[in-house]
C-alpha cells in the first residue's frame, strides 16, 4: 500500500508541476513558444497571468478544493466540493474558466449541484481537476465513474466531458496499481472503442480547451514521452491550453513513474507548503479508498 500512496502523491504533485510548467505558455502556439523559448524545459513563470515561477492556476486549485473536501468529509461529499469551489471563487483566484465560474455561481445563488446539459460544456474544466476522485475511489471503478461525473456536473454537463473524466479515472486507477505503461496503452485502446473521438493515432496537434483536443494531446504526449520529463516537455511545447494538458499528463506520468521520475529542479520551484499539503491529502485519500479499507 505504501507504493500506492507514493504513486498517488506523485500523481497529485505531477498535476501541480504540469500546471506551473505549462501556465507561462498557456494560449501560445507551438511556433510562438519555439520562437520565445526554443524548447521550454524549465518552470519560468510569467505568461498572460503574470505568474511567479512555480505558481499554480485553476487546474491545481480546483483539484485541491476536491481533495480537501473529501479528506475533511472522510469520504464522498458533493456539497463539500461545491462549497470549496464557492469559497475558492470568492477568493479572487488567479484564473477561473467561464464555464466553471458560471456553474459555481449558480451553486452559490441557487444551490444547483448539477448544471443543465449545454452543448458548449465540452471544455476540459471538469476533467482537469478529477484526480482526487480517482484516489478516493481506488478499488471501486463503479464508484469512481459515479463520483467523477457528479463532480463534473457541478460545472460541466456534456457527454464528452463525462467521458473524459471516466477514461482518465480508469487509466489512473491502473497506473496507481503499478500497471506498466505498455499495458496502459492496451487498456486505453479498449476504452477508445467507446470514446472514438479521443483517438490520437493521427494526432493533429490541436491543443485547445475543447476536451477532445485536450484528451488527444494528453494521450499523444503521455505515450510518446519515455519518462516524466519528456511527457511534460512534449505537452507544454504543444502550446494551447498548455497548463491543463500538462497537468493531466503530469497526473498520469506521476502515477506511472513515481516520485523518482519527477525532476528535482522542477520540485524546487514549487511552493513547499503546497507540496506538503498535496502529500498529506494524497495519502489520506488513498487510506479512505475501498482498496485500502478492504485490506
Amino acid at each position: 500500500i505504501e507504493d500506492i500512496r507514493s504513486r498517488a502523491r506523485a500523481a497529485f504533485i505531477g498535476l501541480a508541476v504540469g500546471d506551473s510548467l505549462g501556465a507561462p505558455v498557456e494560449f501560445m502556439t507551438a511556433g510562438e513558444i519555439e520562437e520565445k523559448y526554443g524548447v521550454l524545459k524549465e518552470i519560468v513563470g510569467g505568461g498572460w497571468l503574470r505568474l511567479k515561477p512555480g505558481q499554480v492556476t485553476d487546474d491545481t486549485d480546483m483539484a485541491l478544493c476536491i481533495a480537501r473536501a473529501l479528506a475533511a468529509a472522510g469520504g464522498w461529499s458533493l456539497t463539500g466540493i461545491a462549497d470549496n469551489f464557492a469559497g475558492w471563487l470568492k477568493s479572487k483566484p488567479v484564473d477561473v474558466g467561464a464555464t466553471c465560474r458560471r456553474g459555481i455561481r449558480n451553486y452559490m445563488l441557487k444551490g444547483t449541484l448539477e448544471t443543465p446539459y449545454n452543448q458548449w460544456d465540452a471544455g476540459n474544466g471538469a476533467a482537469m481537476r478529477m484526480l482526487p476522485v480517482a484516489l478516493l475511489t481506488l478499488g471501486d471503478e463503479r464508484m469512481m465513474a459515479d463520483c467523477v461525473v457528479a463532480q463534473a456536473r457541478i460545472t460541466h454537463n456534456h457527454p464528452l466531458s463525462d467521458g473524459a473524466c471516466v477514461v482518465l479515472g480508469k487509466l489512473l486507477h491502473l497506473a496507481l496499481l503499478g500497471v506498466s505503461k505498455s499495458r496502459l496503452r492496451l487498456e486505453l485502446e479498449g476504452l477508445l472503442a467507446q470514446h472514438e473521438s479521443f483517438r490520437f493515432d493521427h494526432y493533429h496537434g490541436l491543443s485547445t480547451g475543447y476536451v477532445v483536443d485536450t484528451m488527444q494531446t494528453v494521450f499523444h504526449h503521455f505515450f510518446r514521452g519515455r519518462d516524466f520529463e519528456e511527457c511534460l516537455v512534449g505537452a507544454v511545447n504543444q502550446g494551447g491550453d498548455a497548463d491543463t494538458t500538462a497537468a493531466i499528463v503530469g497526473s498520469l506520468a506521476g502515477a506511472c513513474y513515481g516520485m523518482e521520475g519527477i525532476p528535482r529542479r522542477w520540485l524546487k520551484k514549487m511552493d513547499k507548503n503546497l507540496l506538503a499539503e498535496i502529500d498529506r491529502l494524497a495519502r489520506k485519500l488513498i487510506d479512505l479508498s475501498p482498496l485500502a479499507t478492504a485490506a
Binding site: V96, A98, R101, R105, M108, L109, K110
Partner: protein, 112 residues
C-alpha cells in the same frame, strides 16, 4: 439577458466590485461620467476666484447578466453603493437581445 447599469459615487467602485465578486460576478465595464441631479456641485478655486462646478464626477458600471440573477445583482449593487446621502446614484435595468463573446463566437448566456 439584461443590462444592469449603475451610476455610483466613484469611491464606491471597489466596494461594489467586491460585493459582486462575492456572488461570482467578475465581468464589468466601467466608465467615468458626470452627474447632474439633486446633489449640488462643489466650488473650485481658480486663479483666486471661486467658481461653482455644477456637475459631480460619477462612475458608471455596466454588467450584462442572465434574467435569473438580475434581481440579486441589483440588490447587491444597491446595498454596497448606498451611503444614504443625496447623490448615491441610480440603477437601470434594460433588455438585451443578444450577447457575443468575440474571442470564441459563443452567444447568449454562454458568452458572459
Amino acid at each position: 439577458l439584461k443590462k444592469v447599469e449603475a451610476i455610483i459615487k466613484p469611491f464606491k467602485l471597489d466596494e461594489v466590485k467586491e460585493a459582486l465578486n462575492e456572488i461570482g460576478i467578475q465581468g464589468i465595464t466601467v466608465s467615468e461620467v458626470k452627474g447632474f441631479g439633486r446633489q449640488k456641485g462643489h466650488t473650485e478655486l481658480y486663479r483666486g476666484a471661486e467658481y461653482v462646478v455644477d456637475f459631480i464626477p460619477k462612475i458608471k458600471m455596466e454588467i450584462i447578466v442572465g434574467d435569473d440573477i438580475v434581481a440579486k445583482v441589483v440588490e447587491t449593487i444597491e446595498q454596497a453603493a448606498k451611503t444614504g446621502r443625496i447623490g448615491d446614484g441610480k440603477i437601470f435595468v434594460t433588455p438585451v437581445e443578444e450577447v457575443v463573446r468575440i474571442r470564441t463566437g459563443e452567444r447568449g448566456e454562454d458568452a458572459l
